[in-house]
């Protein structure tokens, strides 16, 4: 009976490239048998990642075998780790006496390694949201409001800051100390605002991903579809990005072709989370 085995290339970790000793124990290939257990392991840990809004989950595993071309055998003394991000997976390993992982396979798309077994999740506006999701939406709206305020303030200040900055450069050492410190304060204030805007942007992005996960149980990398009933158009895409504006979420990503493969063109659709007032 023939079994499917996924064979990965193996490279050194970037930070260990200057250490030639690590190169000597670099395996030639990483081999993983494609089984239900492998698929479940990947999907379970990805679910964990989405649930806790993490960037990457790394778990110790035994599902990977490391082959050495030079010694023509599988090495048994390698500690192996499975790295899972929302969209990709990789395997890394370390061999005694090294303590930290020093070789890793390239990151590959999850839908490619689980061998075209990806489900398409249909998103619909009529989903009955949980009270928790509704509270998250309220939080998102208040954060968005605050973000817009801060952003507006920043840009207004930016209008003043730029000429002041130019003035500062032109009149350096010619202004009185008070005037000079006033300029410095404006620039400092603007920088602080910029940091706050960026922090808010990140919070909104993470909150939005959390809402999408709680409401629709999908994350980046999932195949999603949406039917616009009034236009009769169905959009299917690989979820790669989103933003929130005016009570609507925009989902965007590479479109899925009729054959079920990831296409080249970008596609997007909007979904209103709450009923319009």
């Amino acid at each position: 009976m023939s079994h499917q085995v996924i064979c990965f290339d193996v490279n050194q970790f970037k930070e260990h490239e200057s250490e030639p000793v690590h190169r000597l124990t670099l395996p030639s290939y990483a081999l993983v048998e494609y089984t239900q257990a492998f698929k479940e392991c990947v999907l379970k840990n990805r679910q964990l990642l989405l649930e806790h809004n993490l960037q990457e989950v790394v778990v110790k595993t035994t599902i990977v075998n490391w082959f050495y071309d030079l010694h023509e055998r599988f090495h048994y003394g390698v500690d192996s780790f499975l790295h899972i991000t929302a969209r990709k997976i990789a395997f890394s390993g370390t061999m005694s006496p090294q303590v930290e992982a020093h070789f890793i396979t390239p990151y590959v798309d999850i839908e490619e390694v689980i061998l075209d077994d990806t489900e398409v999740v249909s998103l619909s506006r009529n989903t009955q949201y949980l009270p928790f999701v509704l509270s998250l939406i309220k939080e998102l709206e208040s954060k968005t409001e605050r973000y817009e305020e801060l952003s507006e303030l920043y840009w207004k200040l930016e209008e003043v800051k730029e000429p002041l900055k130019n003035l500062d450069e032109a009149c350096i050492n010619k202004l009185s100390l008070d005037a000079d410190s006033a300029l410095t304060k404006v620039i400092e204030e603007s920088n602080q605002l910029d940091a706050q805007v960026q922090a808010h942007e990140l919070e909104i992005e993470q909150l939005l991903q959390r809402i999408i996960y709680k409401a629709f149980n999908v994350g980046f990398g999932d195949f999603i579809s949406h039917a616009e009933s009034d236009k009769g158009i169905v959009t299917t895409l690989r979820f790669e990005g989103c933003y929130y504006h005016g009570g609507r979420i925009c989902f965007r990503g590479a479109g899925i072709t009729k054959t079920g493969k990831v296409g080249k063109r970008d596609a997007s659709f909007y979904l209103r989370l709450m009923a319009a007032p």
């Binding site: 023939s2 000793v21 081999l31 075998n65």
Partner: protein, 254 residues
């Protein structure tokens, strides 16, 4: 040598085999997981009994290589136990894999199997592979099976095999110990510097191990390098190499 002594030699050599991960050529032997080591020793005990009964001479090297010399034969056979699969990677497979990052392949044995292998100790000989099942304990008769395979192969050979120099240190052995010491002790070790120098060199000829240094010959006398090694690190090298006469001032490795 009796069978218990042979097994005891294998147990001692097992601790050193970790160094062979840094060896440029590798050395055949027993490379199995700790969980399966005890069962493997039982299999080997049974094998050695059968080989002895067939009149074979069995030799174990410092690195745990097992050599079987059939009675009145001029060719030794190497024996190894390791994990194998029915993998056959083509010559350009690595280059193709670099382009696509991964490939989906089909194998009848997706998980590596513990296999016993024998090969005549001569140039261009191929390994005879026999998977073994430790759970079912089918090791009885395995020795005779391998012995027959050896006899078949011996009949094909018209010239004697390579001369066996047990425990002769090669350049690769010394370099493997240096690289292992560098990985084990890190940047604070003088072996780390030596390992770096060796890896960064495009060419080195003969290597000489003196009482406190390693000398590497370059293309010409001007390109020769001498790297000093601390006393502690020299003791590490001595501990891990089968050097009997360390009183010699210079040991030449080619």
């Amino acid at each position: 040598m009796n069978i218990q002594a042979l097994l005891s030699q294998l147990k001692k050599a097992r601790k050193r085999r970790i160094i062979l991960s840094y060896h440029a050529r590798g050395r055949a032997g027993v490379d199995v997981k700790n969980e399966e080591w005890a069962e493997c020793l039982n299999v080997l005990k049974q094998l050695f009994k059968e080989f002895k009964a067939a009149g074979c001479n069995i030799l174990i090297s410092w690195w745990g290589e097992i050599y079987i010399i059939p009675k009145e034969s001029n060719t030794a056979f190497e024996l190894k136990l390791s994990y194998q699969s029915d993998l056959k990677f083509g010559y350009h497979f690595k280059d193709e894999l670099k382009k696509s990052a991964f490939k989906v392949l089909s194998f009848s044995t997706p998980q590596p199997q513990l296999c016993i292998q024998i090969k005549a100790y001569r140039n261009r000989a191929s390994w005879y592979v026999k998977p073994i099942d430790l759970v079912r304990g089918e090791s009885a008769g395995l020795g005779m099976h391998l012995f027959h395979e050896m006899m078949i192969r011996l009949k094909r050979y018209t010239t004697p095999g390579l001369e066996l120099h047990l425990d002769k240190i090669t350049r690769e052995d010394l370099l493997a110990v240096i690289h292992y010491g560098a990985a084990l002790n890190g940047r604070n070790s003088s072996l780390y510097n030596v390992s770096r120098q060796i890896n960064s060199r495009f060419y080195y000829g003969e290597i000489q191990l003196t009482q406190q240094s390693v000398r590497m010959k370059g293309y010409s006398a001007g390109l020769d390098t001498e790297l000093h090694i601390r006393q502690k690190d020299m003791a590490f090298i001595r501990k891990h190499l089968p050097i009997l006469d360390f009183e010699q001032s210079v040991i030449r490795l080619e």
